[in-house]
């Protein structure tokens, strides 16, 4: 359901091909969304059938032909209606890494720490990418009104990464402390 609105949202900025929309998912929407490219292509076909978007095949000499999608009025209206809807559903996390963390009592402390170190590195890498992206898109923290949403969500993504990293440090310390005690307790 929401993927539809995500695509309509991206198309408010520019017309785009399924390929480009997939790129944008991987780049700018990485802060809060993800989608497989096959899902995007299929969703676009469906949306065209519903009259929310229209497409035009553009012939290219050097590359395969591409299909450019454009937002139609009906799609824009539907998007706005969704944006103005009053219901705010609480968002739920679904995180593989944390699921494993929740079972740390089943593995040795050293394994747990190594896992957290790697998770931390991964999120530091992610943070680096986000900072880079933000610096190039919003130098000096400046942004245009039409990029407000992106500015806000990219800050969220960056802070989320920082939160992850800080929590990793905290969790590693907790495990190290319990490990010290462990000799006489457990």
């Amino acid at each position: 359901m929401a993927l539809k609105y995500a695509l309509l949202g991206l198309l408010t900025k520019n017309e785009a091909t399924g390929y480009e929309l997939n790129q944008q998912f991987k780049e700018t929407m990485i802060h809060f969304w993800s989608a497989h490219h096959t899902q995007i292509y299929r969703q676009l076909v469906k949306m065209e059938e519903e009259g929310l978007v229209s497409s035009q095949v553009v012939h290219q000499v050097d590359y395969p032909d591409k299909k450019v999608y454009r937002l139609e009025d009906k799609g824009y209206e539907m998007l706005l209606q969704w944006l103005f809807s009053k219901e705010i559903l609480p968002s739920t996390l679904k995180d593989d890494l944390l699921l494993r963390v929740s079972l740390f009592q089943l593995i040795p402390a050293d394994e747990a720490i190594a896992f957290l170190e790697r998770a931390k590195e991964q999120h530091m890498f992610g943070l680096g990418l986000m900072e880079k992206w933000r610096d190039s898109h919003f130098p000096e923290g400046e942004f245009n009104q039409e990029d407000l949403g992106e500015y806000l969500t990219s800050e969220f993504g960056q802070r989320y990464m920082q939160h992850w990293i800080e929590w990793c440090d905290w969790a590693i310390q907790v495990i190290k402390r319990t490990k010290e005690k462990g000799s006489d307790v457990k």
Copy 2:
């Protein structure tokens, strides 16, 4: 896939019915996971077929009969194998609220602020629940070794809520500032 391990993980603590496992999802795993009760029941049936868990129907006088699931050796082994696997996939967010935030340039500033205020309230409510839960489970921040995972992930959940709330405050300020400038800029 991961739901299987989530259930196996919960069953390492105690044998439980599908109903109870659903409760636990809603209570303790709210920090990082969610699942519909129908999905849990179906997954349990599948896991029993695979010999990962076994079940026993317990007759009750006052309530409908219940089906208690117990972790089998094969299930425990599979869980450990998963826990020790080296691959760490980066976790991706998927958040309805943020998708709407990403399109804030399409709605009036007042609407955007109202939305963020409500989102903030909601996360403050969530934070309250988590703090309460933590106080009752880990008074004075003390925890038993067998609850290590829960202790770590609940801290994550709590910090995540705080991160959300702080970000809401920040975003509201950003929009208020652009609103002031808005009169002469856009």
